[in-house]
């Protein structure tokens, strides 16, 4: 329930249709793409000007009401999960592409613009926006910045942080800041990078200048089959050792290829233990030379078959399977839980065999899709939330995979963010000192902790509750820090 005075003051600064409090109106906002967690917010506001965003934040700041920014709600870590006492600040009405500068190769967009819409608008100039999360038809660029989203082409073209030039953002007290610039760097600390990936904890982003790239003249993808997962993993290393940075380098295991083949008929070899998609893009001469080299390396690495896309239609067909992996898995199981960890690639065999063993142990099927080029794993754990105990088992299975990611020198999230989902594993990945440093950064922007509270960075007390305080050399560090 929203405090009546807060309600009145919000109603005073927003059009009636932009303030939702009735349960049937706020229900659609109760979760994001991670449906395991749900919470009804006290109110949802849908401002359509920056001035309204400023007003809302000032009011909430004054009244100490939590604010959760929301883009398209496709987060897979519960980043946009509402706060029961708080306001969801939806940027859905910020849908305008404000300008495209073809000569400088930049676009200025509002945060609610869909990722794909930027590339569609830039296409007229032979340009595109490089980061391409699989959710790109739906997710917002504001959400991408907040999560530092990646995509299948980020090995060569980078993550969101590498493709954003400038942000306008509103701080919790209503102050507007501009970070970054139209130049390639800016004065002072790199606050642009700090806000990117900050999961709505530091500021609400209201305008974004992105970098656009010239569309490659040509792109071709090789679809290679392997009779053994480990060989496929080794092939990935061999491609990179040959001095090639493919535009995309993806791996799928057999459960994943079977699921997508039934769904989109992408012409994948079903008998293969693993398939690799290796894309080369650039000028024609470069792609021709690189593809020859890729084929040579894949053959030497023991590929049982290699097909290279002959035209754009076939290239898109080969990719359609990978892009549809999540919905395809959604068809073969009532629920699935997407895990997102990164590992050094050399640890791949160890991690995959552990996942296989745990899949048997928990009695839950698991399909693996993998941004192999940059070591970002996405095991999809299949379960049925209606079967008593299966959700909990899926979560336990997932946590175990993430624990292994940390153990082999990786991280608990490569691109989906911490949200609420990985608070527990954050306590394992970071020591108390580092977590305390994160909390001080949060405090530097938002001393009262009103922006997206309880997300992304666990408090030390939370870690203690989880029983997950990272212990060094058998000793609890800083026993003096209060834990509850």
């Amino acid at each position: 329930m929203l405090d009546p005075t807060v309600h009145r003051s919000l109603a005073a600064v927003l059009p009636a249709a932009s303030l939702l409090t009735a349960p049937e109106d706020t229900k659609p906002y109760e979760c994001d793409g991670l449906t395991l967690y749900r919470e009804r917010p006290a109110a949802v506001v849908l401002p359509d000007t920056e001035a309204q965003v400023v007003d809302v934040l000032k009011l909430c700041h004054l009244a100490r009401v939590p604010v959760v920014a929301r883009g398209a709600g496709t987060s897979l870590s519960g980043g946009a999960l509402p706060n029961a006492q708080g306001v969801v600040l939806s940027l859905a009405k910020f849908r305008r592409i404000l300008s495209i500068d073809p000569l400088a190769r930049t676009a200025v967009v509002q945060p609610g613009v869909r990722n794909l819409a930027i590339s569609e608008a830039a296409a007229a100039f032979g340009l595109y926006y490089a980061p391409d999360p699989s959710s790109q038809i739906a997710c917002s660029i504001g959400g991408n910045v907040a999560e530092n989203a990646g995509g299948v082409h980020c090995l060569k073209y980078g993550l969101t942080v590498h493709n954003v030039r400038k942000l306008r953002a509103v701080l919790i007290d209503g102050e507007i800041v501009e970070l970054g610039g139209d130049a390639l760097d800016s004065a002072g600390y790199d606050l642009l990078a700090l806000i990117t990936g900050s999961e709505g904890l530091l500021a609400v982003i209201t305008e974004i200048t992105v970098k656009l790239l010239p569309k490659p003249q040509c792109a071709r993808v090789a679809l290679a089959a392997f009779d053994d997962l480990e060989k496929a993993g080794a092939a990935v290393g061999a491609v990179i050792a040959a001095g090639i940075i493919p535009a995309g380098l993806e791996m799928m295991d057999q459960p994943a290829t079977r699921a997508v083949e039934d769904f989109v008929h992408a012409d994948y070899p079903l008998d293969a233990a693993a398939v690799l998609l290796v894309e080369s893009d650039g000028v024609n001469e470069e792609v021709a030379a690189e593809m020859d080299e890729i084929k040579r390396v894949l053959t030497e690495s023991g590929a049982t078959s290699i097909r290279v896309s002959k035209d754009e239609a076939q290239r898109l067909l080969f990719w359609s399977g990978r892009k549809a992996a999540f919905p395809a898995v959604g068809r073969i199981s009532p629920d699935y839980y997407c895990i997102d960890g990164t590992i050094p690639r050399r640890a791949l065999p160890r991690v995959l065999s552990a996942i296989e063993a745990w899949s048997v142990e928990y009695g839950l099927r698991c399909a693996n899709v993998f941004h192999a080029g940059d070591g970002n794993l996405h095991p999809l754990i299949l379960f049925d939330a209606n079967v008593e105990g299966e959700s909990a088992k899926a979560v336990a299975f997932g946590d175990r995979i993430l624990g292994l990611c940390i153990e082999v020198g990786g991280t608990v999230t490569g691109e989906h963010g911490v949200g609420v989902e990985k608070l527990k594993t954050m306590c394992e990945q970071f020591g108390t000192e580092e977590l305390a440093a994160f909390l001080r950064i949060k405090g530097a922007f938002d001393p009262q902790g009103l922006l997206n509270p309880g997300k992304a960075v666990p408090t030390l007390a939370r870690c203690a509750e989880f029983g997950r305080m990272r212990v060094h050399a058998g000793e609890l560090r800083h026993p003096d820090i209060p834990r509850f």
Partner: protein
């Protein structure tokens, strides 16, 4: 051994914090000219050197802060890899830690990324003498705030960098440089137009009425692009690009009383004569202006940079009376002060190097 060095530094910083005695962090001293002078007890990072982990197929190298940049580059070159931001050395003895703290990148920056784009993880000692680790040794990592990038370019004001993990990239198989005679505004227009086409550009530099464009990649691609662009081949291009990178090029020789300004602006900003000479890099986005100190008016340069989406730095020379770095907007300055407070509340680390107080 190395752990003992870091432990020693932590103890020293704790002690300095207790005494409120400032610490001046020093590596090879190759960038000592950059920023405001720092007074304090010297902490020399060079004793903490060496590559910790380098697995070429992972495209990641981890090294201690005091590692000489040249040694690191040699190790990568042996595996046909490189630091793709083409770090400026400026002088012999440049260290990795100093390179990352200064946050400066060389000619390849617009095409392969800046140092901040390639930093994956960092270890730092904060102003309380705590040794902290952020980011990691993997390519994609969004766990926690991006402190690695916050430290990059913070010039040691938020922490003493002790170790860095960087993404490395394969060296291009072929490289060639084409030269064109043209006026400055023409050069700026051309490089912007070319950047909008799928060409394997890897550096541009306009100086002395000539535009140099470097192409890098697979040999057939580089040859095809060179044919398309035309121009004349530049002999000994490697030496030229190194001289631009390290400011060893004649353009950077300052006469007495001369200063060098660095204008980082939108790549399409018009060419403007500031009563000095100019060298334009980064596809138009980086403009070096050299001239006599009173004639080059700080306010005018800053206004130009700001109106073209960027910032101006008094890079070399001058007395820094008007400040060296571009003034920050008040709300942004407040965030800077809060972050300094979060990492180094006693303000012992490189105090005043960037702005008054930090």
């Amino acid at each position: 051994m190395s752990d003992a060095i870091v432990d020693g530094w932590c103890a020293r910083i704790r002690d300095c914090a207790a005494r409120e005695a400032p610490v001046a962090i020093v590596g090879g001293g190759s960038k000592a000219f950059y920023g405001h002078r720092v007074d304090g007890e010297t902490l020399d990072t060079r004793e903490h050197a060496g590559i910790v982990d380098y697995e070429p197929t992972e495209l990641v190298v981890t090294a201690r802060a005091g590692t000489p940049l040249a040694d690191l580059e040699t190790a990568l070159a042996a595996e046909r890899q490189m630091l793709a931001f083409e770090p400026p050395h400026f002088a012999e003895g440049a260290t990795l830690g100093g390179t990352v703290a200064a946050g400066l990148s060389g000619p390849r920056r617009p095409y392969s990324g800046a140092v901040r784009d390639l930093v994956l993880g960092i270890r730092v000692i904060d102003g309380h003498g705590r040794h902290l680790a952020f980011g990691g040794r993997v390519m994609k990592n969004v766990a926690g705030f991006d402190v690695s990038r916050l430290m990059t370019g913070a010039q040691g004001t938020l922490g003493v960098i002790t170790e860095v993990s960087l993404k490395c990239l394969p060296r291009p198989a072929a490289e060639t440089t084409r030269v064109f005679e043209c006026p400055a505004d023409d050069a700026i227009r051309r490089v912007n137009e070319w950047s909008g086409h799928p060409l394997p550009l890897s550096a541009t530099c306009y100086v002395d009425g000539r535009l140099a464009v470097r192409l890098s990649g697979a040999a057939p691609a580089v040859e095809a692009a060179a044919r398309k662009l035309g121009g004349d081949a530049m002999p000994d291009a490697d030496t030229f690009w190194r001289s631009v990178r390290d400011h060893a090029h004649r353009f950077f020789e300052r006469g007495s009383g001369e200063v060098l300004w660095r204008l980082s602006v939108k790549s399409t900003a018009p060419f403007t004569d500031f009563d000095g000479v100019q060298l334009v890099e980064w596809g138009g986005a980086l403009r070096w202006v050299r001239g006599a100190s009173p004639a080059l008016d700080a306010a005018r340069l800053r206004a130009f940079a700001a109106s073209h989406g960027g910032h101006a730095t008094l890079f070399r020379g001058g007395n820094g009376r008007d400040g060296i770095f571009h003034p920050l907007a008040p709300a942004v300055m407040t965030l800077h002060r809060s972050l300094k407070e979060a990492f180094d509340p006693v303000r012992v680390l490189n105090r005043g190097r960037m702005y008054a107080g930090f």
